[in-house]
């Protein structure tokens, strides 16, 4: 085995591919060859590093410097300066890890600031398409532990319960408890489903987990299947996520080859089969019962609960549905123990959370931090602050069915309880940051348009309610409204909250009410502008 002086990591995900990462890789290989550095420098393809919108990126190890917007031209600069001369290529946009955040000195810290990574621990360090790489970095240790120490399914569930892990798909339901329901449900055949539909606009954490460390999900599914008593698992992936699908499929094939999947896993008497199902792209199909309908080949409509999937899910058999991120926590919890996991986060919201930061920040992208990290720190430290030095106006936290938080709530801690106290939700973990020039009415308008489009149409309140909200905000934007229309909107959203069949219709209250309560002036401006 040869020893390299440096590694150049080239993150390959859908974003970077689009920006030309493959060509850059070829160019890089050519240049390294030309410079006769093949013996010294190793080029490695990795999954995402969690930064988006920054073109092709490369990371130089061991210096941990990340370069953004790499082109063929500035690549030469990087090679000349950094690789050959060993100093940072200052002309190329970059950041480096290892800084402790210093107030006011946010610049160049960005997303690569030291993070607490559990879910994303291997992303960016491994070649996601190589199971050997994964094994070398400690993949499948959880599974190995269970089978080598003959840990019973009940004990696995107990461990997860004790870890305090809660669902990352939106509702925050305790994962161990959910598993115990499915385990306890009567039935010979049970199913384990991974919800990788990720329909929330502006959320892409699940995609990056799957692209960066697909084996982690496979491992988690095996453990979950073992714990709940399922021999068959499905990963329901949004159809547009081609790279995720490809990498997960490859991971499944490799795991089968290594007998980590299939009949009698690792020569035990537990068998587990995994299959990918492609989602058709409707937002509501991310709702677990609609997802199950869709898996059954029907049109995805939310089902009436009860019965819950734990008792009557896929094909009316006991089923457990978990989000990608939830599952990605499992292997480490099993390997390192729930007490280790509990050290992170807060008392009631343990562990870490992956956030996607978007909007008017310097470094939009993906981070993983401990639960309870203040919103201010996430935006100003990890996100690098507001773009162009403008003023912060609002953050939409929790996805499109999230809450508009004003400046006064910037110090809210990002965990289930603290957010709940501020009448907000963690949701999908999306944080959309808006600067002072943003109009909240326009933001709400696009949310309402999205919901009017995505309401499945099954129940009357949501179908018509979303349409009416759209009508009202149309009027407000055109200045053809009265002040009472603003309150009318809240009233409709309240009606929808009380009476919708599924959480899609129920959740609109969040953005509508918070927008109106915190940014009423924006609405009034619109109305008055046109009136005089």
């Amino acid at each position: 085995m040869s020893i390299y002086r440096a590694h150049i990591l080239l993150p390959i995900d859908e974003g970077t591919i689009q920006s030309g990462a493959i060509e850059i890789k070829k160019e890089l290989e050519k240049r390294i060859e030309e410079e006769n550095l093949k013996e010294e420098i190793k080029i490695l393809e990795t999954g995402t590093i969690g930064v988006i919108g920054k073109g092709v990126m490369i990371v130089v190890y061991p210096d941990k410097v990340t370069y953004y917007n790499v082109t063929k031209t500035n690549l030469n600069n990087i090679i000349q300066e950094h690789i050959i001369k060993g100093r940072i290529a200052e002309e190329v946009e970059h950041s480096y890890e290892g800084h402790k955040p210093v107030e006011k000195e946010y610049k160049n810290v960005g997303l690569t600031r030291e993070q607490q990574r559990i879910v994303l621990d291997k992303c960016w360090k491994i070649d996601p398409e190589s199971i050997d790489d994964v094994l070398a970095y400690g993949g499948y240790r959880g599974v190995e532990k269970i089978f080598s120490e003959s840990i019973s399914p009940e004990a696995v569930i107990e461990e997860i319960k004790n870890s305090g892990l809660r669902g990352r798909g939106g509702a925050g339901f305790p994962t161990g408890l959910k598993w115990s329901f499915t385990r306890a449900a009567k039935g010979e055949e049970k199913f384990m489903i991974c919800n990788a539909d990720e329909g929330e606009p502006g959320t892409f954490k699940d995609r990056l987990i799957m692209e960066g460390d697909p084996h982690k999900l496979i491992e988690a599914m095996i453990i979950a299947g073992y714990a709940v008593g399922a021999n068959k698992g499905y990963i329901y992936i949004r159809g547009e996520y081609e790279l995720s699908i490809k990498r997960i499929q490859k991971a499944i094939d490799q795991a089968l080859e290594y007998n980590l999947l299939g009949k009698n896993i690792l020569e035990t008497n537990f068998s587990f089969y995994l299959e990918i199902k492609k989602g058709a792209g409707a937002y509501v199909c991310g709702e677990e019962t609609a997802l199950i309908d869709s898996l059954e080949g029907k049109r995805g409509y939310p089902r009436i609960k009860p019965p819950f999937p734990a008792n009557k899910g896929l094909w009316q058999k006991p089923t457990c549905v978990n989000n990608v991120e939830t599952l990605a926590n499992i292997p480490e919890i099993i390997y390192k123990g729930s007490n280790w996991f509990k050290k992170f986060g807060t008392e009631k919201s343990t562990g870490t959370k992956v956030f996607t930061i978007l909007g008017h920040v310097e470094y939009p992208g993906l981070i993983e931090v401990e639960m309870g990290t203040p919103l201010r720190e996430i935006i100003f430290s990890y996100g690098g602050g507001i773009k162009g030095g403008k003023r912060f106006k609002a953050a939409l936290v929790g996805g499109s069915a999230g809450v508009f938080l004003p400046e006064r709530l910037l110090d809210v801690k990002m965990d289930f309880e603290s957010l709940d106290e501020s009448k907000a939700v963690l949701g999908s973990g999306a944080i959309l940051v808006m600067d002072e020039d943003t109009d909240i009415v326009d933001m709400l308008f696009s949310i309402l348009k999205f919901f009017a489009h995505e309401s499945c149409g099954q129940c009357s309140v949501c179908r018509i309610g979303t349409h009416q909200l759209l009508n009202l905000i149309y009027g407000i934007r055109r200045g053809q409204a009265q002040e009472k229309d603003i309150d009318q909107m809240v009233k409709i959203a309240e009606t929808m909250f009380d009476m919708s069949l599924c959480p899609l219709g129920q959740s609109l209250i969040m953005p509508v009410k918070s927008a109106v309560e915190n940014f009423r002036q924006d609405f009034l401006n619109k109305i008055q502008n046109k009136n005089n």
Binding site: F451, H453, G457
Partner: protein, 774 residues
């Protein structure tokens, strides 16, 4: 178990929903989407309630009762929330009929100063007064809508037969979708798209006809609004009575209820709650009956053929003329044709009249040919419809279940859905095909050989085709296989031979048989009178041995036969070419009481609900009057007198038939005549008319004298719907219009004929086609 609803303790069965429990105890909870026969849906959200210990507001129609539940259904909050929802619903629903200021005047004077089109739903909504949405609005006392109202501007769909669709009135309760799928097992319509663009209709924007709609009207019945409305009853208003009866349009004689208003039949429905029952009727019982009984083409007055031409005469005059023709006639030179739609009472009266008074035994019916007799003879082995439930393997043979035999096709579909293997042997795709384990198309032009192969395969393992092997295997492992035969067999040239083989197959395998036939009282006819075959009577006529023809409700001839005089007695006029000397208007179903016999000889009775139109009178009364005129014997023909004479047990007797050897040579398609033309006599016949001919909408779904062609074939030959084509066999050719439809497979053509005899011989017949003018 015990539950408390609104402080009232009630005892209810386990497993029912709160809504059902409340309804059982007359506690009204507003609801729009729930439906007795359908799975809970929870879409309209009106039935929200409060349950102690449950979060939020569950819906009563989806929540099951639990012991000691404490339920509140009418708190202030609930009512207020219901008003909110209803207002939301109304904001996209034309609401003039509900909250318009001029509502009162409008309903009393049926006019309003506002010019609102009928389709915007003011007092002129077809459901006005009978609408479930209206009822809920009244109950919740809504008189204004606080939300912006809008009209969805969906196009009104009125171009397909029997019912119109105006989805601007739709509240998306999905009852139509669910009844079609869950109850009728047709799955024609579904919810399409999402959110505010939700629509209802067949997938891929297909027409209902192409999507396999049976026009059973179940969706129309259960629609709580005016979105779906029956074309024929649209403006009929609310019926003033509902009368039990049976359908006379095929031998299943389904139970129906007849909707009457001011003495007029305005509609027919399956039994049960008019808004809840999906029923088991086919398009004929559901929609056609009303059209027929109210048909403007009814014969309303007696007509006599004077030297100068046809003239309307009084009954006295008509009876006198009939007397003249019948008084001294030689009974041996009289031939009588009876419709298989006559009631037992009418048939028995006819028997007494013709056998005892006119002294003739030349009694037949146009349908009584040798093939029919071979077919119906199998009925000795026939089981009743209910017994299909017990079958564990179903084989249909040349059954065309489109727009037909709904209770039968339904039970096939239900059984197949539950896993009973269902084989469909024949060419036509019908409503059952989707459920077929296998549809087997017999070797074209070698149908008899095909059935022979099956018989051989049963007797000893052989080298027959894999599908026959599979069929035989499945029959052999079943303990109760059933063959369901369709009347289309009778039209095949080799019918007799094929039926013999089928009989053999049935004996070999111990199978049961179920015979369908489109004639409501054929069994009664064969049981009460000793008939002669149609062929025998025809021979007498052509040998000039008949002077007088007496035709009752039948239509046996394509042109006037060589006889001296013809008397036609029917609810409908005789065809012009017949030049009937005397036409006597008679009453039909609905206007008479009577009874029909089913295949097992059981008798089903029904009552008159209205009076015949014009001067039409009952057949029995006509016999009575003519008998008095010729005054031979003192016999009472009236319904009362006759009904006592009907035997309790009926047993069929078949006319003797001399079978001639087959003349036509059967051959498979070949390079010169590559397509196989199948001719099918239109089974939708009632008395002497065809429903397709008489009812425009029926003509759209069952078109007579047009060639039906598979879309793929049509595409290949560049033929389009409506084109006219030449069809040519080795001895005959004719021009027909084309209909492109999926009900027939590639390389076959289907021709539904209005005549009793087929133009192309043999049937099926290899042909080739080309476009007219090419």
């Amino acid at each position: 178990m015990k539950v408390t609803i609104d402080n009232q303790e009630i005892y209810v069965k386990e497993g029912i929903t709160i809504l059902d429990a409340a309804q059982e105890h007359n506690i009204y909870i507003p609801h729009l989407c729930s439906h007795l026969e359908l799975s809970p849906y929870g879409g309209c959200r009106l039935c929200i309630i409060e349950v102690e210990g449950m979060k939020g507001y569950p819906t009563a129609c989806t929540t099951k009762v639990e012991d000691k539940m404490v339920i509140r259904t009418h708190t202030k909050t609930l009512q207020q929330m219901r008003r909110e929802i209803l207002q939301l619903i109304l904001s996209e629903h034309p609401s003039a009929c509900l909250i318009c200021d001029e509502q009162e005047e409008c309903s009393s004077f049926q006019q309003t100063i506002r010019k609102v089109g009928a389709t915007t739903g003011c007092r002129w909504c077809p459901k006005d007064g009978d609408c479930e949405l209206q009822k809920v609005v009244d109950y919740l006392e809504i008189d204004k809508i606080t939300f912006p109202v809008y009209y969805r501007q969906l196009p009104i769909e009125n171009h397909e037969p029997f019912y119109d669709r105006d989805y601007n009135l739709c509240i998306y309760c999905a009852r139509c979708v669910r009844i079609c799928e869950e109850h009728r097992k047709s799955s024609v319509i579904s919810l399409r798209q999402r959110g505010r663009f939700s629509t209802i209709g067949p997938a891929f924007n297909m027409s209902h006809i192409d999507a396999g709609c049976e026009f059973c009207g179940a969706c129309v019945s259960v629609c709580p609004t005016g979105a779906l409305s029956e074309k024929g009853r649209k403006w009929g208003g609310i019926p003033d009575s509902y009368n039990a009866s049976i359908c006379p349009l095929c031998d299943l004689n389904c139970d129906i209820q007849v909707l009457m208003k001011k003495g007029k039949v305005i509609g027919t429905l399956p039994p049960g709650d008019p808004h809840q029952s999906g029923g088991e009727l086919c398009v004929k019982g559901r929609f056609c009956l009303t059209h027929i009984i109210n048909s403007p083409d009814r014969l309303k007055e007696p007509e006599y053929l004077f030297d100068e031409g046809i003239g309307i005469v009084s009954w006295d005059e008509a009876v006198k003329q009939a007397g003249k023709m019948l008084k001294d006639v030689n009974g041996k030179r009289v031939a009588v044709y009876l419709s298989p739609n006559l009631t037992l009472e009418e048939i028995l009266a006819a028997k007494l009249f013709f056998k005892d008074i006119i002294n003739t035994s030349n009694i037949t019916s146009s349908i009584l040919n040798s093939n029919l007799i071979s077919y119906i003879s199998l009925s000795e082995e026939s089981i009743s419809l209910k017994e299909i439930e017990k079958s564990d393997c179903i084989i249909s043979v040349f059954l065309n279940g489109n727009y037909n035999y709904a209770p039968l096709t339904l039970s096939i579909k239900q059984k197949a859905e539950k896993g009973t293997p269902y084989f469909q042997i024949g060419w036509i795709k019908d409503t059952t095909s989707r459920y077929a384990y296998q549809q087997i198309i017999p070797f074209p032009g070698r149908e008899k050989t095909f059935f022979n192969k099956i018989a051989q395969s049963i007797e000893n393992a052989d080298n027959s085709s894999p599908e026959i092997k599979e069929l035989v295997k499945k029959i052999k492992i079943s303990s109760n296989p059933i063959f369901i035969l369709g009347p289309d067999i009778m039209g095949l040239t080799e019918a007799d031979g094929i039926l013999k083989i089928i009989k053999k197959i049935i004996t070999l395998t111990g199978s049961k048989i179920f015979l369908t036939n489109p004639y409501s009282n054929l069994i009664g006819l064969l049981s009460l009178i000793d008939t002669k075959s149609n062929e025998e009577i025809n021979e007498l006529i052509s040998q000039k041995k008949i002077d007088l023809l007496y035709i009752i409700g039948d239509n046996p001839f394509q042109k006037r036969p060589p006889v001296n005089s013809i008397i036609c007695q029917s609810p409908f006029p005789a065809p012009d070419y017949l030049n009937a000397d005397l036409a006597l208007p008679s009453a039909m179903w609905g206007e008479i009481s009577g009874s029909f016999a089913d295949i097992k000889g059981n008798i089903k009775k029904f009552k008159a609900v209205t009076n015949p139109p014009g001067k039409a009178i009952q057949n029995n009364e006509i016999f009575d009057r003519i008998n008095k005129e010729i005054g031979k014997k003192d016999i009472k023909f009236t319904y009362k007198g006759i009904s006592k004479l009907i035997p309790k047990k009926l047993e069929m007797r078949f006319p003797f038939v001399k079978r001639k050897p087959l003349k036509a040579k059967i051959s498979p398609p070949n390079t010169s005549f590559p397509l196989l033309l199948i001719q099918e006599k239109n089974p939708h016949i009632f008395y002497n008319i065809s429903l397709s001919n008489n009812i425009r909408d029926m003509r759209e779904i069952v078109t007579e004298d047009a060639i039906i062609m598979n879309p793929t074939d049509a595409l290949k030959m560049e033929i389009q719907n409506g084109d006219s084509i030449f069809v040519k066999s080795d001895i005959y050719e004719k021009i027909y219009p084309i209909i492109v439809r999926k009900i027939i497979p590639q390389n076959f053509l289907l021709l539904i004929t209005s005549s009793r005899t087929f133009d192309f011989n043999p049937n099926p017949c290899p042909v080739h086609i080309r476009r007219n003018n090419v």
